[in-house]
Symmetry: C2
Subunit: 801 residues, 2 copies
């Protein structure tokens, strides 16, 4: 028979758990750790940390919440929306700041170089190279010595975080600062990388910092903090932040929502979508307002060329059937080059981590400087070898200046050409900011602007630059370089199509756009979100079906070779992302086989402190089943306790007791003396480790009752369930642990859809009453029932470690 | 101890289940039935039928599949994609057919009426009314006497189907035909309804018919059929069909994908999204090709005005802060009017079902005729009372003719105005196809085309017409009427804004667009998908953030009053959709409380046929736990068997046996003599009922071994799990049944993320080997283990009914 006190304790815990706002989704965090060399170390929480969505709320808080009831729910919802607003504004402003800075640095750099070129090429080159070097150096310095976690795009890490795996340091205030200023340096310095990935990371950092009430240095009021005691709420904020980042990076609000929900999180909830949507809309408004303000010339070089929108609405309106073949070819090329890009970057990053970056920070700085110099030499030097082209005469009435006036944005860069009616096509794409280069590649009505030779040269050189730049110690996005590469070969194909189907009204710019979509599809393997982003950044809906088809082909081709860029990188960094589809061989495996020969470490309900400590030291598991003995000596699994919660209990010591009896055996509810927030690990710290616990010998002799702190109903599966089913359960619910239990001996009831249909409007009170009355009447019955069951429970000895 | 034969049987069943392609998602179908009066009848499968995702594959098929292995998987994937292609083409062609027909009927109607008007108004009106009446009559006749399931929009039913509740007859060939021709009649006949909802239903019908290999009358080859033996695959096809329908209705491929995944299905899988995406792209290509072909004049009246795209790309490019307030006002109006619309249609539909439509088909026909006549009178008569307006002079250079030439599409309808420089603003919206009316309302550069009085009149009259038309026995979509209503009040607000902020460059058309978005948001409560659809149909990305904000407001306002249109209608029809969020009171309830006092009906593993029959007659449950006795007499739940599968077994009789011993006790694997497809209920039939079973007294004395046919590992939850958790499990995995079991007495293992990370590339063989070796070695161990467990299993008597 279950003793009364267990009943009480269980009721307390159940209430606790059922009251947690939205406690229904638990997140899986992992006992797999990543080492820098890319392998998985099992059961080591040194680097990748575990995160719990399993929150405990103390009884004072719970009572307060119960009093407030629905009013409190409204308050909590309102605060969530308010934070979504803040995230939108913050990310929007960060994006504006980065863009203004980059555009100003780049604009100043190019105009200075151009003016010096008039006198001496060499001096011009030197100035150009030195400015680039200085900018890049500032970036790599910030990253290496101040915020090492801000290197790279950050998307794999954020993806990992939202799937439950916390890489240390990715959401710190330091990282945010490093990301913003590092991006400015590396993008302004002309490296073959973009600022879009980092902006997603920036948005996530802003969201996370807001969610925990600022950095550790300055806290907001604690009233606000209380709303975000659950890890899940914080993760939701980070999802909003991701969407805001994409929305800000591309001015693509819908693309941002879809990116966050397709690519980043592993599950989908309509309530969250709704808030993410709002955040994106706010970002769009903020960015638009800032750009309106800048239009009046307040932002220096940041003008119409500033924020990404490669408007191709003036381009090709229609397509004919003959074009589908070359478009399919673009898709195939995109898939091949994208997969190759993923593979090459994987090798290089692997090599870099294992050989180069182990030698210390100085090597990292030198490496980036060398890359910067190479980039400068190529982008300045190669156009010098290219002959100038006379301006096309037919384009005189298309409204495009040739050559473009100095210091302006546009096609037909004059560069070193002496003749006023000439331009250098290689300089048009090379010696330019990436945004402008893409604008030139996408541009319509500029047939024959580029020679095939120039495009090929650029493709090869830029592809190589992008590959070697990837993985250096600077913030680096792959969107813009991907678009550059893709639009180059897209335009190449377009040139052939133009000369082949001379009758049709074909624009090379359209093919450049399709090429960009195909390369991104082949590399990142996104679908709907990428499609929407492409449409939003080019502001042309008419090409949507073509973009969709090209994406389909390139993704299919790429998938034949390897995984997507982010997945590959996440794997390299040891972030164990679960794929959307279970592996083929799981079909023949059962849940039990997945557990392997792993020994289950149990805790009894009331446990000696010394035992807890030795058990925690003895293994690295993150969750432990808790069992209790009924009076007749039988065992019963009463829940799951988290390592992190145990550590908090051990550190605070307030729950230690002298008696080995459950704390509620003395009657009355269990008082919980903890502040709610103690159990939530701050993102900015590494969390408690068992080595942080210092206990006196007296402490070690005391006992602790775990019942109020455990999760009383973790998800369970029977031992012989197919592993595919388990996998889907795990992934769809974002779980952390699943307990594998023996087949049940009986069924208490069946839940079908109708059991879950509870009318709330008019019947709310009666249902509430009914459930309360069930609650009030039931204990006796339930106990009787359980007593009956309990007497039949087997005695399982030797299972408690 | 478990006997050997049970082991064998279980292994067989497990293999069966684990081999089912993608068997991991089970769908919930329901034992709740809808009666026509809107209440729920519990446990009655008469009208709404249960659907199983739980498929059984026979051993021959399984062996064949095992032989083919991965090759077979590729084949199956290829067939799925091929079907997606077919669905895209089919839906695209259906949409083209409907549009061409509607445009031709309407065009012919208006040109005839216009030419008669020149002689006699009364004769013109008579002809107009009679043509409308004839078209509507054809529609209602088809619906009433041929395909009653094709009435309404069909979206609530499809939504129900994809959530596991099959309303009888919604996916028949008859319904498809009724939907297509009914839509042509009702839309061509000028009723206040749209063809978009019906197109979604049409797409779903096409997909479902393809999935089951044509109608019952003509079958495709059975080889193809074999791929879609699982209900889940068929449902996936229907999801593709829905997306194709939206994509075809609005020429909005991305909107279609999002609609299918946000609004229609309750879960989200990236593989499916990918295929849905492809289908939508195909639809877009098909529609575009057909329109290109029609441009050369092959399609009669179907010209540029045909397929919906209300291009407003020439409109307002920018917005200023002062405009945000009136836009918010539009959002509020949209929320209020939308909620009111939902409420009114709910009352009227309820009344119609309970009083009017019970009186038979004749009443339905008469009702629709009366509605048609009222619509004709209003749309012809009201403009007569309106004075003609002189054409604006300033617009002479905007390229818009005033009055428009007869027989053309455009603004400024002359109607009865004698003067060649006059037009009738009410006729411009009333006496026009809805597509053209919306185009006029959205049109830019036509400030002061409409008077406030006309717009108000139209708003009131059209709103009333839309309310009374809703729920009549014709195919009816609510998208286009919603856009009409919304754009009318939007334009009204726009007029006030124009006169208030005279300095700003404001277009009334932009406000009309926002109004349309707000009304749809307030009524249908969709978010991202609606936003994308609005952007795609108006071909203007610049207003995206504004549309998002307006949608947010109108949805929030609407949600304060009632549920979305589709949810309300689904509830009225007794389709038990699970909301995305669990109810508040579920937080304090447990799984056991949800089961209520429901008695669990068990089957033993080997059961007498007579017992099966009496049990099936005695209740209406759809799933039954199966238990077995170990040799020591203890019980063990070995799985769940479906009512529909039992009925198939009873009908076919091939598995009857004389011995009460398990069929595998004689050694060897269990031969399954069933064709795979027998267990899949065809969508076009009502499925087997227990009354269809006719058994001889000899049969009744025989036994049947259920082990090969049951689902050996249904999802289980412990009895005291919080109901919110159960709810999420149910909804996220699309479950059908959850077994509630007692708390486990021990834990066999824990599954964490790392246990689910199986490297496949190079290690595939070794893992496969390993798992095989586990499989080979384990049985002994496992049996020993289980033996140990089994001896400790309690003896539970009296649980087997």
């Amino acid at each position: 028979m279950l003793s009364n006190h267990l009943q009480n304790g269980m009721e307390t815990a159940k209430l606790l758990w059922s009251r947690v706002p939205n406690s229904e989704v638990e997140m899986e965090a992992n006992s797999v750790a990543a080492d820098d060399n890319g392998g998985y170390k099992k059961h080591d929480s040194s680097n990748v940390e575990s995160l719990d969505y399993e929150v405990i709320e103390n009884s004072a808080y719970r009572q307060e919440q119960a009093k407030r009831g629905k009013l409190y729910m409204w308050y909590s919802v309102a605060v969530k929306w308010f934070f979504a607003l803040l995230i939108g504004i913050g990310t929007g402003l960060a994006a504006v700041f980065i863009n203004i800075s980059v555009e100003n640095f780049a604009g100043w750099k190019y105009s200075l170089t151009f003016s010096i070129i008039q006198k001496s090429y060499f001096a011009g080159f030197l100035v150009y190279m030195l400015i680039n070097l200085a900018l890049v150096l500032s970036s790599v310095y910030i990253i290496t010595f101040f915020a090492p976690e801000a290197a790279g795009s950050g998307i794999p890490e954020i993806k990992g975080y939202l799937n439950g795996i916390d890489t240390h340091g990715i959401l710190l205030f330091r990282t945010l600062i490093g990301k913003i200023f590092g991006s400015i340096g590396s993008v302004g310095g002309g490296l073959a990388l973009g600022k879009e990935g980092p902006l997603v990371h920036t948005g996530a950092c802003i969201a996370s910092l807001l969610g925990q009430g600022g950095s550790t240095k300055y806290h907001l009021s604690s009233r606000w903090l209380q709303v975000f005691t659950s890890e899940r709420d914080r993760r939701d904020l980070v999802t909003c932040g991701c969407a805001a980042g994409v929305a800000a990076a591309f001015r693509a609000p819908v693309g941002g929502v879809l990116f966050a929900l397709e690519e980043v999180t592993s599950w989908w909830r309509s309530q969250l979508m709704w808030r993410v949507f709002f955040t994106s809309a706010i970002v769009a408004v903020v960015v638009r307002t800032a750009m309106g303000w800048c239009k009046s010339g307040n932002c220096g070089h940041f003008g119409s060329g500033g924020f990404i929108i490669w408007d191709i609405s003036g381009g090709q309106e229609d397509y004919s059937f003959q074009e589908l073949l070359p478009m399919a070819v673009i898709g195939v090329i995109g898939g091949l080059l994208g997969a190759l890009f993923n593979q090459l970057t994987l090798y290089i990053t692997h090599w870099r981590r294992n050989h180069l970056h182990k030698r210390g920070n100085r090597v990292k700085v030198i490496e980036v400087c060398i890359v910067s110099i190479i980039t400068s030499v190529i982008s300045f030097g190669l156009p010098l070898f290219k002959k100038c082209t006379p301006c096309p005469e037919a384009d005189a009435n298309s409204g495009i200046d040739c050559p473009r006036p100095p210091g302006m944005y546009g096609n037909y860069v004059n560069f070193y050409c002496s003749n006023n009616n000439e331009y250098n096509d290689l300089a048009t794409i090379f010696f330019n900011t990436q945004d402008d280069a893409i604008r030139n590649l996408f541009s319509a009505k500029t047939i024959h602007e580029f020679s095939a030779q120039s495009l090929l040269t650029f493709l090869v050189m830029f592809y190589s630059l992008a590959v070697i730049t990837f993985g250096t110690a600077v913030p680096a996005g792959q969107f813009v370089p991907g678009i550059m590469i893709g639009s180059t070969y897209g335009r190449l194909v377009g040139m052939f199509v133009v000369s082949f189907y001379q009758k049709l009204n074909i624009e090379e710019g359209t093919y450049a756009l399709l090429g960009a979509a195909s390369f991104l599809g082949g590399s990142m393997r996104m679908t709907v979100s990428l499609c929407v982003i492409m449409v939003e950044i080019t502001n042309n809906l008419k090409l949507l079906p073509l973009i969709m088809l090209v994406l389909l082909i390139s993704k299919a081709v790429g998938d034949a070779f390897n995984e997507g860029l982010y997945e590959e990188q996440a794997r390299l960094r040891g972030i164990p992302l679960l794929e959307s589809k279970p592996k083929y061989q799981m079909r023949t495996m059962t849940a039990k086989e997945a557990c392997g020969n792993q020994k289950v470490v149990y805790f009894p309900r009331v446990v000696k402190v010394a035992d807890v400590l030795s058990l925690l030291r003895g293994n690295n598991h993150n969750g432990f089943p808790v069992i209790d003995h009924t009076r007749s000596g039988e065992t019963l699994v009463i829940g799951l306790i988290m390592r992190s919660h145990l550590l908090v209990l051990l550190q605070s010591k307030v729950d230690f007791q002298h008696s080995p009896l459950p704390c509620d055996s003395r009657g009355g509810p269990v008082p919980i003396r903890h502040n709610l927030t103690e159990f939530v690990k701050p993102v900015s710290s590494k969390g408690l480790s068992v080595n942080d616990i210092h206990l006196t010998p007296d402490d070690l002799e005391m006992y602790i009752d775990l019942a109020p702190f455990l999760n009383p109903s973790p998800y369970i599966v029977p031992e012989d369930m197919s592993l595919t089913k388990v996998y889907n359960l795990f992934r769809q619910l974002g779980l952390r642990h699943i307990l594998v239990v023996p087949r049940a001996s009986r069924v208490i009831g069946m839940i079908t859809r109708k059991d879950l249909l509870i009318e709330d409007n008019e019947d709310a009170d009666s249902v509430e009453l009914q459930s309360t009355s069930v609650r009030d009447q039931q204990p006796g019955d339930r106990r009787r029932l359980r007593r009956k069951g309990d007497t039949q429970q087997p005695l399982l000895d030797g299972l408690i470690v």
